[in-house]
C-alpha cells in the first residue's frame, strides 16, 4: 500500500471508528465535550472532520463532511450553488496552461496530474449544475413542497427563479464555438479534447433544461400568485359580508346581457316513464307492481287538494348595522396596550379617562371575557395580568379588582 493510499484508508478508518459521534453531530448540529469523548473529539478536530462552534466546548461538523453526507443521503438538498462560471473557467484555464507547459517540457507525470485536476474541475462543475437542476425540478413538481404556507412557496419560487435566471446568465459566458475553435487551433491532445467536448455536450443539455425550468418556474409563480389573490379575496369577502349583513348580490340574470359565468342552469331532473307496450319490459313491470302491493307502508300520493297558505308579500328591509359601544371601547383599550410597548395599561384607568358609564366590576368582566374570546395569534401579542383576591372555598377563583394589559415581547 502506497503512503497516499494508507493516508486515505486511515482517514476512512477514523470516520468509521467515530460513526456514532459524527452521526450525533450531523443530526443534533453540535457535540459537547465531556470526559468520555474528549480524546475522540480532539482527534476528529485534528483530521478536519469537526470544528469548534460558538463555545470552546461545543463542536460541529466541518462544512465539507456535512455537505458530503447531505449529498450522499440526498438530505437537505440545495439548489443554490456557488456558481461563478467565470471563476471556474479561470481555474480550468490555469490548469490547462500548466498541462500544456508540462507537455512541452515532456514531464508526463506532471501533465497527468494537471489533466486529472482538469477532469475533476469539469466533472465537479457539471455535477453541481446537474444536482442544482434536479433539486429545482423537484421543487417545481412538488410546488415547493418543503415549505407549507402559500407565502413561503411564493417567496421560495421567487428566490429560485432569480437564482435560475442568474445561472442562465452565468452559463451564457461559455461560448461553445470558441471552445471548439480553441481545441482545433491548438491541436490539443485527445485526452484533453475528449474531456472538453464531453463537457460542452453536457453543458448544452443543461442550458436547454435550465431554460425550460425558468419557464416552468414563471408559470408556477403566476399560479401561486393567483392562488394568493383568491385566498385574500375570500378573506376580504368574509369581512365584507360581516360588515354588510344587508348586502345581497344584484340580480345579474335580469340584465339584458347575462354574464357568461352565470349562464349555468340549475339542472334537469330526469324522470322517465315506462313503455307498457314493450313486451321485453313486462316481466320487470309486473314484479315492480307486486312489490308495491306488498309494501306495508305505501307511499302516500301528493295531496293536491290542500288549503292555500297565505304568502307574506311584505318587502324585506335592510337594517342598520349596530356597533356595540363597549366592544369598540375594548378594542381601543387593546390597541392602546399594543401601541404602548413596554408599558402596562390599566383597564380601570382607561375606564376613567374615557368616562365610561359602566360599573367597574362589569367593565373588568367584559374586558376579561373579550380577551378570552380573542384568537390565539392575537392573544400572543397581548399579556394580561390581574389583581384580585382569592375567593374562599373555591380553589383558583378570584375576585378581579384590576386588569393590566401589556404588549407581549
Amino acid at each position: 500500500m502506497s503512503f497516499d493510499q494508507a493516508q486515505v484508508a486511515g482517514l476512512i478508518r477514523k470516520i468509521g471508528s467515530a460513526d456514532q459521534l459524527l452521526a450525533k453531530a450531523y443530526i443534533d448540529g453540535t457535540l459537547f465535550v465531556d470526559e468520555k469523548n474528549q480524546h475522540a473529539i480532539d482527534s476528529l478536530k485534528k483530521s478536519g472532520l469537526l470544528r469548534i462552534a460558538e463555545q470552546s466546548d461545543e463542536f460541529r461538523l466541518t462544512t465539507d463532511i456535512k455537505r458530503l453526507i447531505d449529498r450522499l443521503l440526498l438530505r437537505n438538498p440545495r439548489y443554490r450553488q456557488n456558481t461563478s462560471i467565470a471563476k471556474m473557467i479561470g481555474n480550468i484555464a490555469d490548469d490547462i496552461d500548466a498541462y500544456r507547459a508540462a507537455l512541452e517540457q515532456n514531464e508526463q507525470d506532471e501533465a497527468n496530474y494537471h489533466l486529472e485536476q482538469i477532469d475533476d474541475s469539469l466533472y465537479e462543475s457539471l455535477e453541481m449544475l446537474e444536482n442544482s437542476l434536479s433539486v429545482m425540478f423537484t421543487a417545481i413538481t412538488s410546488q415547493f413542497g418543503f415549505v407549507n404556507s402559500l407565502s413561503s412557496k411564493i417567496r421560495e419560487n421567487e428566490r429560485a427563479l432569480s437564482y435560475a435566471q442568474q445561472l442562465v446568465k452565468e452559463l451564457s459566458i461559455i461560448n461553445t464555438k470558441d471552445c471548439y475553435e480553441w481545441i482545433s487551433c491548438w491541436a490539443a491532445p485527445t485526452e484533453l479534447s475528449g474531456k472538453v467536448i464531453r463537457f460542452i455536450d453536457q453543458y448544452k443539455s443543461i442550458v436547454v433544461r435550465l431554460v425550460s425550468i425558468v419557464d416552468r418556474m414563471k408559470t408556477l409563480l403566476f399560479t401561486l400568485r393567483l392562488q394568493e389573490q383568491t385566498a385574500n379575496r375570500t378573506r376580504a369577502m368574509a369581512q365584507f359580508l360581516k360588515k354588510h349583513p344587508e348586502w345581497q348580490p344584484r340580480e345579474w340574470c335580469d340584465e339584458s346581457e347575462v354574464p357568461a359565468l352565470l349562464k349555468r342552469n340549475k339542472g334537469l331532473v330526469f324522470n322517465t316513464g315506462i313503455n307498457t307496450k314493450k313486451s321485453s319490459q313486462q316481466d320487470e313491470l309486473i314484479q315492480l307492481i307486486q312489490e308495491l302491493k306488498r309494501q306495508s307502508n305505501p307511499i302516500k300520493p301528493l295531496d293536491t287538494q290542500r288549503d292555500a297558505i297565505p304568502v307574506d308579500s311584505s318587502e324585506t328591509e335592510g337594517i342598520e348595522y349596530c356597533s356595540d359601544y363597549y366592544e369598540a371601547q375594548i378594542e381601543d383599550l387593546f390597541s392602546l396596550a399594543i401601541e404602548k410597548q413596554g408599558h402596562k395599561v390599566s383597564a380601570l384607568q382607561y375606564r376613567q379617562t374615557a368616562e365610561l358609564q359602566i360599573k367597574p366590576e362589569l367593565w373588568l368582566d367584559i374586558v376579561f371575557a373579550k380577551y378570552c374570546c380573542m384568537q390565539q395569534r392575537f392573544k400572543q401579542t397581548l399579556d394580561i395580568e390581574m389583581d384580585g383576591q382569592d375567593l374562599p372555598d373555591f380553589n383558583g377563583n378570584q375576585l378581579i379588582t384590576e386588569i393590566w394589559l401589556r404588549r407581549a415581547r
Binding site: P249, P259, R264, L268, Q375
Partner: protein, 210 residues
C-alpha cells in the same frame, strides 16, 4: 360513459377530477369533449371549462325568455349559499392557520379540523353562528355535531365529496372553484374593492407588528 357524463352535466354538476374522476378523464379527451358538446348544442347548451381550471360544466348557449328563469334559479342557489360558504371557508382557513384558498382537490379532515376549532373559543362561536344561517341551520349544540352537520350539508350542495362514507375525510370539488370565480365576478361587477381591502388588511397587520 357518454350517458353518465351528459346526465351529470345536464343535472347541473361540475365535472372535476375529485367528484367525477372517470367522467373527467373522459372529457379530457378532445374527441369526447366535441361529442358531448355537439350533443349539448342540440339542447341549446354548451360544454364550458371554468376559466384557468380543469373543471367542466354545462351552460346555456343563448339566453331567451324560456330559459332565463332556469338561470335565475341557479344563480339564486349560489346567492343563498355565498354568505355561509364564504364564512365557512374563512373559518377553516383561520382554524388550520393556512394562507391557501380552499379549492378543488383540497382535503378536509374532520377530526383535525374539529381539534383546531375546539381549541379556539372564537371559532366555536363562529360555528354557532354558522349553524344559525339558513343553509346550515340546526339545533345541534356540540361542536362535533355541528361540524359534522355542516360538512354533510356542503356535501349535499356539491362543494365536498366523501370518498369513504364511514371515514372523516372530505375532498373539495370544482364547485368551490366556481364559487371563487363568482366572488371575483361580483368583486369586479359590483365594485366591492375586495383586493384593495385585502391589501389594506395586510398593511394594517404589518403596521401593528412593526
Amino acid at each position: 360513459m357518454f350517458k353518465h357524463v351528459t346526465e351529470s352535466l345536464l343535472s347541473g354538476q361540475f365535472i372535476c377530477p375529485t367528484a367525477f374522476p372517470d367522467a373527467f378523464d373522459y372529457l379530457s379527451k378532445a374527441e369526447n369533449f366535441s361529442k358531448v358538446d355537439a350533443f349539448l348544442s342540440q339542447l341549446d347548451r354548451e360544454l364550458c371549462v371554468l376559466e384557468g381550471e380543469e373543471i367542466y360544466y354545462a351552460a346555456y348557449a343563448q339566453i331567451d325568455n324560456d330559459n332565463r328563469s332556469q338561470i335565475k334559479e341557479a344563480f339564486s342557489e349560489i346567492r343563498s349559499q355565498l354568505r355561509p360558504v364564504v364564512e365557512w371557508m374563512d373559518m377553516v382557513m383561520t382554524a388550520m392557520g393556512q394562507d391557501m384558498p380552499i379549492r378543488a382537490r383540497d382535503e378536509i379532515r374532520m377530526h383535525k379540523l374539529l381539534k383546531m376549532i375546539e381549541l379556539e373559543p372564537s371559532l366555536c362561536e363562529q360555528m354557532n353562528r354558522l349553524t344559525q344561517t339558513a343553509l346550515f341551520k340546526t339545533s345541534k349544540t356540540t361542536i362535533n355535531d355541528q361540524l359534522s352537520w355542516i360538512l354533510q350539508k356542503l356535501e349535499q350542495c356539491g362543494y365536498l365529496v366523501k370518498p369513504n362514507p364511514q371515514g372523516g375525510l372530505y375532498i373539495v370539488t370544482g364547485k368551490m372553484n366556481y364559487l371563487h370565480q363568482i366572488i371575483a365576478f361580483l368583486n369586479d361587477a359590483e365594485d366591492l374593492e375586495l383586493d384593495k381591502q385585502a391589501n389594506r388588511d395586510e398593511n394594517q397587520q404589518q403596521g401593528l407588528f412593526s
